[in-house]
Symmetry: C2
DNA sequence: ACACTCGCCGGAAACGTTTACAAGACCGGA
DNA sequence: TCCGGTCTTGTAAACGTTTCCGGCGAGTGT
């Protein structure tokens, strides 16, 4: 109406008022037409034309403010470089995109302070929900989770009574799959190269390893266990230490990066894989398939966990009243060349 | 003031009005205190206390609307699974985080329609800028780039006269580095396994390969060239086709995924690497280091390109008037076991 | 005692949208 | 002709912030 409005510098982005003024209708009518609700044929025509003429595009922020919904989901993982998180992220992205949500990624560096800070930050409501995959979970996490005004889905082992949507891997079952497979093919001295034992996955895989040995009737031997972190370099170094002092006939690694490192050490040491030493990794990432020989690996269903986490999130966004749910995905073993021989 | 205000259901998130009312000051004063601008000691105390009491956290959306700035950067790449993009993303995330920007990732699947749609979507102003790494660039891209109300930095080969911030890899120099190295170590029949030749990188690497051969005085032989896409599986298949019909003494691959595939085929065929066939990959991702033998690879500086792109973006956000800039990052060759022998 | 500056404060506008509400136009049926 | 209903429209409030601006009180210098 007022000339002031119309005088705005020409290249300032068009708003709904611009369109309304140009079409000679109220902003309410303009908004309605643009959202496809009602309007007489004539009004629709005028508004559409005006919108097209000025190239009107509604401002997402203003819309979010009014709708109290951003259309964004946050994903927080320790390291976006780790292939297992990449896989998870890919799956989540896919699901989210289909529901018209977009993904905000945070790399936490496994820093618990940072993670709780992130959770506290949710109060700012810059996203509609968060999928968090922490390596460790402290009390800080739990209270922050409780305080969060937006839903959070945790991928990882949450305490059993924690009232949050939770997607878990079955570490125990997965490790058992690997150890059984190795025992079945005649291996007697099955070593284990773990990642950081003070992380949730590290701790779980360690106890699972001992339990699995017992299950298949093999003794636990201190010297057959080495630890590094979950990265390639340290995994490889750990494998080197292991091989320097012991002579396993199989090595089970807590993830594929470690397995790739172990493979390197084995081959460099002139050992044949799988004839001399069988090798099984974990996570079944692309890396397992791209190594030579290809590495057998237990999948904990990273992609599937991602999908599930996203699904849980979406359904909760639709209906916030839902009771907390817990999903566990079943592990699967893919046998490849690195363990294909029976002794 | 009005009871209506104060009667809001208790667990509705506190707003600045809640705080102001509780502290007995105007919302203007409350806002000022919360932003650390002025206020008498008494007012500051009262507002701080009120804010703490109700656990006030400012709403990011409302703030964005008012500030006309979201604090978000979008990153659009073809495939967030490709390690080279992962590396780039990591670098960008790092830089962005330091400047208090957060990353929104889009996986475009190399779909040009999708990419232009994304660019058009920028008019919604849901992010402050976008870093785009397209595999192909069409007119659609250029006009969409021109229309974008927020800055876009393109990682990849843009036409020379396109007035946008642009970070480029030096494909030519990189390929030359590889071919020279192979020629220097006595290789005469240097094969090339390319990715999709209708992409920017594919086309560039192809012409660079021919030019490099000429530069080192070797003939170009049709039968020594194979193409797949930039993924592992097709790269490997392409390498298999190549080896079925020709006997190169070296293979240069257009990226590390292809190189890993070629390595697989070579070893499976009983050929020794590097004694029989030397192998050089491109992008120098973690994969090159994790293979056995480790694969020599030419880095086109993905991380560095990411960093640069982010820097360009940040500086432009600070000062939108800047003239368009173009950065090119220098390639480097890392020689590893796969090409370490001189014939 | 007066003018002036300065700091603090609150009212109100602004960012750009959607939507509740009420009023007006129009139509068909009694 | 009048009445009840439907459809359309515009005014204004709301989402939650920040900020412009004018007013007011206290302090200072003359």
């Amino acid at each position: 109406m007022s000339r002031k409005r119309l005088q705005k510098s020409a290249d300032a982005p068009a708003t709904v008022r611009t369109v309304a003024a140009l079409a000679g209708v109220s902003i309410a009518s303009a908004s309605r037409v643009l959202n496809g609700i009602g309007g007489s044929t004539e009004t629709v025509r005028r508004v559409r034309e005006a919108a097209a003429r000025v190239g009107y595009v509604p401002n997402a922020i203003a819309r979010s403010l009014q709708a109290r919904r951003t259309g964004l989901l946050a994903l927080a993982v320790a390291d976006i470089g780790n292939p297992v998180y990449v896989e998870m992220m890919r799956a989540i992205e896919e699901v989210a995109k289909r529901a018209d949500y977009q993904l905000l990624v945070h790399a936490t560096g496994a820093d618990p302070e940072g993670e709780t800070a992130l959770l506290e930050g949710l109060a700012r409501r810059y996203v509609d929900g968060m999928i968090l995959s922490p390596l460790r979970i402290g009390d800080g996490h739990l209270t922050a989770l409780g305080r969060s005004p937006v839903p959070v889905t945790v991928v990882g082992q949450l305490p059993d009574d924690a009232p949050f949507d939770n997607v878990r891997a079955d570490s125990h079952g997965g490790v058992l799959l690997a150890i059984e497979h190795l025992a079945d093919t005649g291996r007697k001295r099955i070593a284990f190269v773990n990642g950081a034992p003070d992380t949730l996955p590290g701790a779980a895989r360690m106890t699972a390893y001992r339990a699995a040995l017992t299950a298949v009737g093999l003794p636990y031997e201190e010297e057959l266990v080495e630890i590094g972190d979950f990265q390639y370099a340290q995994g490889r170094a750990a494998a080197a230490r292991l091989l320097a002092r012991a002579r396993p006939d199989a090595i089970f690694c807590a993830n594929d990066l470690i397995a790739a490192g172990a493979l390197h050490e084995l081959l460099a040491g002139g050992l044949r894989v799988p004839q001399d030493v069988a090798l099984v990794g974990m996570d079944d990432t692309a890396l397992a398939e791209m190594s030579f020989p290809q590495i057998s690996s237990v999948s904990l269903g990273a992609a599937e966990r991602g999908r599930l986490a996203a699904d849980l999130m979406l359904s909760r966004l639709e209906n916030p009243q839902l009771a907390p749910r817990r999903e566990t995905v079943a592990p699967t073993l893919t046998v490849r060349a690195s363990s294909e021989v029976t002794l």
